[in-house]
Amino acid sequence: MSGWEEAERTLAAGEASLVSLWADGPRARLALLSGPELRILDHEAPGGHFPSIGRLHPPALRLERALAESSALVPDGLPDTRPWLLHGAEALSYPFLPAKGEHLHQIPVGPVHAGIIEPGHFRFTCAGETIVRLEERLGYVHRGVEALMEGKTPEEAAKIAARISGDSTVAYAIAFARAVESALGVVPPSRALWLASLMAELERLANHLGDVGAICNDAAFALMLSHCGILRERVLRASFFCFGHRLMMDRILPGGVTTDLSADGIAHLRALVAEIGQKFPRLLSLYDRTASLQDRTVGTGILRPDLARLWAAGGFVGRASGRDFDARRFYTPYDSLTFAITVRSEGDVDARLRIRAAEITESLGLITQILDRLPAGPLRSALPAELPGGSGEGFALIEGFRGDIFLHVRLEGGRIARCHARDPSWFQWPLLETAIAGNIVADFPICNKSFNCSYAGHDL
């Protein structure tokens, strides 16, 4: 049995997690994780044929659909060959899967939604008010990110990587920087690594605060949205004060960071941590004491732990369904910081909210530790103008607020030959389809918000 087929078997048996699958010229490349070890396997055959992974391991299906439509490779035996990210001329006649049964009706929603959110299409098949099946159709915000990066210098491409999913700009910038550094054999200064993690924790804090407010708002509890909105705004303003950009875009580049943290900045962040540390627990106890709110979140949109494991669901989606995984365990400076990773098993909207709440507290602790122990030194290491030997490759697995982001680069002559980015949403979107089955249509917004998958990160 070849390494590829062996990998397919271990994935299907649940002995390893799929990290990503992509095309690079004539090669199909597969990244998988067993324990802390991330392996990359290649398959190259005449005519570009390779045995489909999705055939035995469904989490690979959408990745293979995207690969097949954008490369010359052919996943043999791929059960679903419909277009995915490239809608093309047949955009309006996409064949949704049939749902059969008595008294079923369909509700098409999107790509344009009622709120201020990203575009995507949801096709609900319902029996009365109950959702029997949801099928997603994505790709509307496909900007051709990966192709656009090819031929660019690492600095130019970093700007694009930082805009794959705006809410995770820091996490993507770190993933891109670490991947390029490992391809070039560059070691960033430790102050840069610590500052990057500081920004990552601020980003996590801002997003989790926004999500907690928005989930409660979807249960018509607007008070929480307002209070969480104030705290979120304070984080963004502190980020602007310290790093000069509310979302901290373009502050992390291959080799290090562009902006140092001043003594004023440190004081500002300490005040921010104190304020949130004082106010957030009271908001959480308000949530705890409001039975009508929990009536909407407890038991709603349950994601089964076995599916979370099989799909290697990252972030709060996985951790609320028993999957004890957080990529921060594997990289600096988290190896020398103390933080707890909360895991729950209920898998409902309430569990996903509570995981975020626990992570808000942990991020406050991490920010304080980073401020206490921030190493002195330079901010950036220079990148060699030309690569040794003309080419190199590297990857990174970085924990964004939403889950683990995988990013792989291959460089040639100092330019990007291929860059592949896999957002955690790739494995969370399909799980939303399973979690919503059996719930009522009116609970879809709150379930969807509790997953908060990225359209832009997925569509690329």
């Binding site: 809608h87 955009a91 309006l92 790509p111 344009v112 009622a114 709120g115 201020i116 959110i117 990203e118 575009p119 790709g139 509307y140 915000v141 496909h142 900007r143 051709g144 990110v145 192709a147 656009l148 700007k159 694009i160 805009r163 794959i164 999913s165 705006g166 809410d167 700009t169 926004g210 008070l223 307002s226 209070h227 909105g229 104030i230 979120r232 705004e233 963004l236 509310r246 979302l247 875009m249 009271r282 908001l283 308000l286 004491r289 409001t290 990225s454 359209y455 832009a456």
Partner: protein, 167 residues
């Protein structure tokens, strides 16, 4: 809950009207007719035509208590049929072109289009991608551009208020 409510009242966070000279200039260019028709209220339909979602985060922030856009008569509406203004973000992707046109066509006249962010204005990092059509103005006529990557909420607010002639 009462305690939480009262506490919120004790320390108001809502801020004064933002001013931005850049938009004062733009406002002068808008015809008197436009201002007369819009009066004091603006119903805005936001449409993401390919954004990285950064612009959406800042547009959403307009509703938080610091900016509280409804106090200016600005409100986000769910349907393009209720909207005066289409606020578009992102470099228009090929896959969103049809949806953008349909949303625009669904709006009653008179209607205005605001392109928010560098992508929507045509100078963002995705401008040259074959998967994108470029600026919003490549697909529909644009009345006002609010630059930034993403534009800050204060800037968005100043831009929208320029439409009302408030600046």
């Amino acid at each position: 809950m009462l305690r939480t409510l009262l506490e919120g009242l004790r320390q108001p966070v809502t801020e004064a009207l933002p001013t931005d000279p850049e938009f004062a200039e733009l406002a002068k260019k808008l015809s008197r007719e436009t201002r007369r028709r819009l009066g004091r209220g603006l119903a805005i339909r936001v449409l993401d035509a390919g954004s990285c979602n950064g612009c959406e985060l800042e547009i959403n922030a307009l509703a938080n208590p610091f900016y509280d856009l409804e106090r200016f008569g600005l409100s986000f509406v769910a349907s393009p049929r209720h909207a005066d203004v289409l606020l578009v973000t992102g470099p228009v992707t090929r896959n969103m072109r049809e949806a953008l046109l349909r949303a625009y066509d669904a709006m009653p006249a008179p209607k205005w289009v605001v392109a928010a962010g560098d992508c929507a204005s045509g100078c963002g990092v995705f401008a040259k991608s074959p998967a994108c059509l470029g600026a919003v103005s490549a697909v529909i006529q644009v009345d006002l551009v609010i630059p930034g990557c993403p534009p800050t909420p204060a800037r968005l607010l100043a831009g929208l208020l320029a439409l009302l002639g408030n600046n």
